[in-house]
């Protein structure tokens, strides 16, 4: 018992432990595991007097999102450097308020372990468990899909280790599946919809007929719902909303019905490879050159990333979407980060890299500020934490659902790129106030501080 939770208080709290069972466990337990367990203070992976602490970077290293995972890992390594006071300091120079001193965290040197989520919940959880059980990490971060984020977040709650989610766009992550131990810097589908609304109205007017192609799983559904709510509020009609299997590859059979549906906007609620394929094929079917109802046919991809833009190539040009962050932002924080990332690796960071870098810094800063690694205290520090200087303007981690609120970018595929990295053009920075919502609308419960 005690060996896996590393805390004595729990024995009494759960109250159903039998003496015999405990004895059995103790007898089975190899001695070297007992050693630290009892000496520790009362939370898991307490670094105690050790000279260093470890973060767990759990990113997709294999599978479709391996490139994103690689970029996340680059950002994490950079964050570790900066927290330990190496390199040029990056966003430590711009973050406000800042408690970190550039000497590690609470004077302990920061180290890290890595793992492969394979973009599969089971593999991600196994990897996270290894980090917690074997490597003794104090915090886990990373990932590149909502399924993985929700799965790992749930695990971290049970095990009492803080999880700073990476790329996860589903409303559920900080909605019905939110957890006390999980925080999200990324925006969500609801915010994408809110941010896109005014731009869509401006660009396409209020008399439009939209056709949705939606990846048939939870993230796709929440995005479809969010975008639908927004566009219908603008006065648009929804002609059809068709679910497509994940990984369909060839979407032609879903695209041809769009041709004769009378719709004049196609909204692709797809992500990653699915989005690259469906967009490429939609353009091949001539949708972008089409005139319907006397208007130019338009395609909208609510969630964009630079890697996806790369994969879609020419087809992305002029397409509208939202993104969490882009390297071309001109605020001090973004510039500092792009500069140190660029000097380290020779190319600009993706939004995945930015999200992950910031998450690592924020956790470290919260520990420093709380003066302890004790998760409940760190969580309390992060809850409602307001800061600036990390891109996207003044930002807040809302206490009620651990969702981060900041400005959202509406972007457009760049028509005339000035360099090979200049793929997305920021169309509009939608202020935070326009995308905020009541935490109650998505339900869910955070759960206890103490586990």
């Amino acid at each position: 018992m005690s060996d896996d939770k590393s805390k004595t208080s729990e024995l009494s709290r759960r109250g159903f432990i039998k003496v015999g069972a405990a004895a059995l466990t103790a007898a089975n337990m190899p001695m070297f595991f007992v050693k630290d367990a009892w000496a520790a203070k009362d939370f898991r992976n307490n670094p105690g007097n050790a000279g260093s602490v470890k973060f767990g970077f759990n990113v997709p290293q294999t599978g479709a999102y391996a490139d994103e995972g690689a970029d996340e890992l680059r950002a994490y390594k950079l964050a570790v450097k900066h927290i330990n006071g190496e390199g040029d300091g990056g966003m430590l120079n711009t973050m406000k308020p800042l408690t970190l001193k550039g000497n590690g965290i609470l004077g302990k040197k920061l180290e890290y372990v890595t793992g492969d989520t394979q973009t599969k919940s089971d593999a991600a959880r196994a990897s996270a468990k290894r980090m917690i059980e074997k490597d003794g990490v104090v915090m886990i971060t990373g990932g590149s899909s909502s399924g993985v984020a929700v799965a790992v977040q749930g695990l971290c709650q049970e095990m009492g280790v803080i999880f700073m989610a990476g790329l996860t766009h589903s409303n559920d992550t900080t909605g019905k599946d939110k957890r006390r131990y999980g925080f999200r810097h990324f925006f969500n589908a609801y915010m994408s919809g809110k941010a896109l609304g005014p731009v869509l109205k401006e660009e396409m007017g209020t008399d439009r007929k939209a056709y949705h192609l939606t990846a048939d799983y939870t993230w796709g559904w929440t995005q479809e719902e969010s975008i639908k709510n927004t566009t219908e509020a603008l006065g648009w009609q929804t002609t059809a909303a068709v679910k497509t299997p994940v990984g369909a590859g060839d979407f032609s059979q879903y695209i041809t019905p769009v041709l004769n549906s009378g719709a004049d906007v196609l909204i692709l609620n797809h992500y990653g490879k699915d989005m690259i394929n469906s967009l490429t094929q939609a353009v091949q079917f001539g949708l972008r050159d089409k005139q319907v109802n006397g208007k130019n046919f338009e395609i909208v991809v609510p969630l964009f990333s630079r890697l996806m833009a790369q994969g879609a190539g020419e087809n992305i040009k002029g397409i509208l979407g939202t993104t969490n962050w882009n390297w071309s932002l001109q605020d001090e924080g973004s510039k500092a980060f792009v500069k140190s990332f660029g000097q380290e690796y020779g190319f600009p960071p993706s939004m995945a890299a930015h999200t992950c870098y910031v998450q690592a810094l924020l956790y470290a800063n919260a520990v420093e500020q709380a003066g302890t690694f004790y998760p409940p205290e760190v969580i309390k520090t992060l809850e409602g934490f307001k800061f600036d200087g990390m891109g996207n303007g003044p930002t807040e981690y809302r206490a009620e659902d651990h969702q981060c609120f900041k400005d959202v970018l509406v972007v457009r595929g760049n028509q005339n790129p000035t360099s090979q990295f200049d793929l997305l053009q920021v169309q509009k920075i939608v202020p935070r106030s326009e995308v905020e919502y009541d935490a109650k609308i998505f339900g869910g419960e955070l759960g206890p501080y103490e586990v």
């Binding site: 896996d4 089971d122 468990k129 599946d177 799983y217 759960g447």
Partner: protein, 378 residues
């Protein structure tokens, strides 16, 4: 394995039991001695042993066995949600429901043999996966996976306090080492049953079917009931494995039923040595070890490992080995598959047999190499 001592099943069982229960001791030096990975070894060991009862004994290659793993997991989580956090009902229901699925899928698939059988099982599993991922989301919670929630009824348990309850066996929490020992006991039981089946007349019948199905049919022997029994038993093993995944970590995801998951157990079994008692266990262990330990190595860790080398050499070695670990661990796994099949047809167990025969040859006779050769032929 032709040491006379090992011919005695009880000796095998005793050694096996001791080896499994002391796993935390001997796995720690190789970095695998932590609860989650040991649980995975045991769980996938059970899965592979069960698969081997079908494939190893009858030669029928099911390419959709993961469906039973998924069914087991979903059943267990639903048992936690609706009934109780006690793991016993969950395990029992999982095995039973996986058995029911196996009866249906097996009954249909076993009407064909060879690759037609494989594709039938694959098709059933892929249908289950695709539906569980999307249309059946109310039942499976789709991509996110079926999880416990605060408002689950759990009719047999009283109201819980703060936070989600843990799985337990009459009060013993089933995470960490307890979870491992629970899985270990199940593995030992599973292995024992598999051993008995291997030695039983039923097992011999299955082997006879494998070696010559047509001849058995000509002699008027109806093979179908035997095959179906083997299929169902093997599906129940998978159901048990699936339920244990939920016991140690109460979540069930659709990916557990995807063809890659079915392929994994096939690879585990062939890699270790299909049709051998221990092979599937070795295969499961190797693949899970790679997935968890090799994938987690990064340059920093490699530098630690090779720190004893002179700096320039260390950098070269790290640069080369770096390609094969971390994000390159799939490459290593692929190479391993090829190397094992090319040089050790019959899998790891065959390799061990050859090695032991070779060693015996050296010890038994200085000069007479024929002994080693004849040992190999046997």
């Amino acid at each position: 394995m032709n040491m006379p001592l090992l011919k005695n099943d009880w000796v095998i069982m005793a050694i096996f039991t001791v080896a499994v229960l002391t796993a935390p001791l001997w796995l720690t030096p190789v970095g695998a001695g932590y609860p989650d990975l040991m649980q995975k070894f045991a769980i996938f060991g059970i899965f592979a042993i069960g698969f081997n009862l079908l494939f190893g004994l009858t030669g029928y290659l099911s390419f959709g066995h993961a469906v039973f793993l998924g069914v087991g997991s979903y059943t267990a989580v639903w048992s936690f949600k609706l009934l109780t956090m006690n793991v016993l009902p969950a395990v029992i229901f999982s095995i039973l429901l996986a058995g029911v699925f196996a009866v249906v899928i097996g009954y249909l698939s076993l009407r064909r043999s060879g690759i037609y059988f494989s594709i039938l099982t694959l098709a059933f599993a892929q249908m289950s996966y695709n539906l569980a991922y999307s249309v059946l989301t109310p039942l499976t919670n789709g991509e996110t996976g079926l999880q416990l929630t605060m408002d689950d009824p759990r009719v047999l348990d009283g109201p819980v306090g703060q936070g989600l309850p843990s799985t337990q066996l009459f009060g013993i929490e089933m995470s960490g080492y307890n979870g491992f020992y629970f899985c270990a006991v199940m593995l030992i039981l599973g292995f024992f049953i598999s051993l008995r089946i291997f030695r039983s007349p039923f097992g011999l019948k299955l082997l006879a079917i494998k070696s010559n199905q047509t001849r058995m049919k000509y002699t008027g022997f109806n093979t179908r009931p035997y095959l179906l029994t083997a299929f169902v038993i093997s599906g129940m093993y998978a159901g048990l494995a699936g339920s244990l995944m939920a016991v140690t970590d109460p979540l069930a995801g659709a990916e557990r039923m995807q063809w890659t998951a079915s392929g994994e157990v096939v690879l585990m079994t062939i890699l270790g040595g299909a049709g051998t008692l221990f092979g599937p266990l070795f295969g499961a262990g190797i693949i899970k070890y790679f997935e968890n330990i090799f994938s987690a190595m990064n340059d920093g860790r490699l530098h630690e490992i090779f720190a004893f080398l002179p700096d320039w050499l260390e950098n070269i070695v790290v640069a080369i080995t770096g390609e094969f670990v971390g994000e390159g661990w799939h490459l290593t796994l692929g190479l391993l598959f090829m190397i094992v099949v090319i040089f050790l047809p019959g899998g790891v167990v065959e390799g061990i047999r050859r090695a032991s025969a070779y060693v015996k040859g050296i010890f038994q006779s200085s000069g007479d190499k024929d002994v080693a050769l004849s040992a190999e032929k046997e």
